[in-house]
């Protein structure tokens, strides 16, 4: 039985697609057959972050409408054997997704895949609702910043009332907090909410903390999920995040200001 994980946030630009790409890739690297679905109809971007934008032929909406089958629309990743991407449509509007259609495709995918990652669009409209409706688990991507935290809380409300699990009286969606763009130096200076602050306000279990990092932009520039850049802080933080998502107990890193050694202090860096 496949596990469906939605990556959501409410607010835009906090790192949903970056995180979907990294987490999906990370799970697939562990040997699980994984598909990442782009639910952002009309504003497709997962293909670009994954570096497969020129291989898109058919998309999610084509499959729902029966204009193509799943085999034709799924893009097989060239780096990881067990990883696939289902791109969003670029031309249709957000209402092109029907609940019945999405359910049919998810059921079909569930027969073949171990993990289905749903990359949600921003906002709380139908696209975002569709992405979270069928989820078993949710990764709530949050920046340590007031509007993002507030929107995350709003999404938590949706997860507990507007999902299939809520409507059918099943056990609720398992919620995880993923704090991104974290800058320990600014936290120490009292300029940024700390991990503890955000955890206290949202009151859900912390899955991971991704430090603000040059590596993220470099990764998206070149169409490589940042988790593949394993020398980088962000790449390592995503590896830890995936391990925790798979149930492993991994200590948190990158929460404190890195102490500069004598050489670094002299030569910079």
């Amino acid at each position: 039985m496949a596990k469906i994980i939605v990556v959501t946030s409410g607010k835009g630009g906090v790192g949903k697609t970056t995180s979907s790409a990294a987490i999906g890739t990370g799970i697939a690297m562990r040997g699980f057959k994984t598909v990442i679905i782009d639910f952002d109809i009309g504003l497709r971007n997962l293909d670009l972050i994954m570096g497969c934008e020129r291989r898109v032929v058919y998309d999610f909406v084509n499959v729902i409408n029966g204009e193509a089958n799943l085999k034709q629309a799924l893009i097989k990743d060239k780096r990881i054997e067990t990883l696939f991407i289902l791109p969003a449509s670029q031309t249709r509007d957000k209402d092109a997704l029907s609940k019945e259609g999405v359910e049919r495709i998810l059921n079909e995918l569930a027969e073949e895949f171990d993990y289905i990652i749903c990359d949600s669009p921003a906002g709380i409209e139908s696209g975002a609702m569709m992405a979270l409706y069928f989820a078993d688990e949710a990764v709530v991507v949050t920046n340590p910043e007031v509007s993002s935290v507030r929107d995350s809380d709003r999404i938590l409300g949706m997860l507990s009332s507007k999902s299939r699990r809520a409507e059918q009286g099943l056990p609720g969606i398992k919620e995880h907090l993923l704090l991104t763009r974290y800058n320990p130096e600014r936290v120490v200076k009292g300029e940024m909410l700390s991990v503890e602050d955000v955890g206290e306000i949202l009151a859900i279990k912390l899955l991971g903390v991704i430090p603000e990092s040059q590596a993220v932009l470099n990764a998206s520039n070149s169409g490589q999920p940042v988790i593949l850049d394993q020398d980088s802080d962000a790449g390592q933080a995503y590896l830890d995040t995936v391990a925790r998502l798979l149930g492993e107990d991994v200590p948190f890193r990158f929460l404190n200001v890195e102490k500069k050694g004598l050489l670094k202090r002299i030569f910079g860096g």
């Binding site: 009292g190 940024m192 909410l193 306000i201």
Partner: protein, 86 residues
């Protein structure tokens, strides 16, 4: 920044301000989320009635419905009157 300011170093910690503001608004919105749809309208109606007699601002009335058990819900009405009574 003057030299004196530098030594005084009473920079306001904006992160703690953010935390306080968030705690308040999030608690408020969670309360709303769990309450019936008619509550905002009820609040507006109550506000209109009180305004017939006393001049109060929008944020001086708060209405909340708390479910204390399966059989019992308590409607709490909080009205802050202005200091200078007319």
């Amino acid at each position: 920044m003057s030299l004196l300011d530098y030594f005084r170093s009473t920079k306001k910690n904006t992160a703690s301000t953010a935390k306080e503001r968030l705690q308040i608004i999030v608690a408020h919105e969670r309360n709303r989320r769990n309450s019936p749809d008619y509550l905002p309208q009820l609040e507006r109606d109550i506000l209109a009635v009180i305004r017939k007699y006393v001049d109060i601002a929008d944020d001086q009335v708060s209405v909340s419905l708390e479910k204390s058990s399966d059989e019992l819900s308590v409607l709490e009405l909080n009205v802050t009157f202005p200091d200078d009574k007319k």
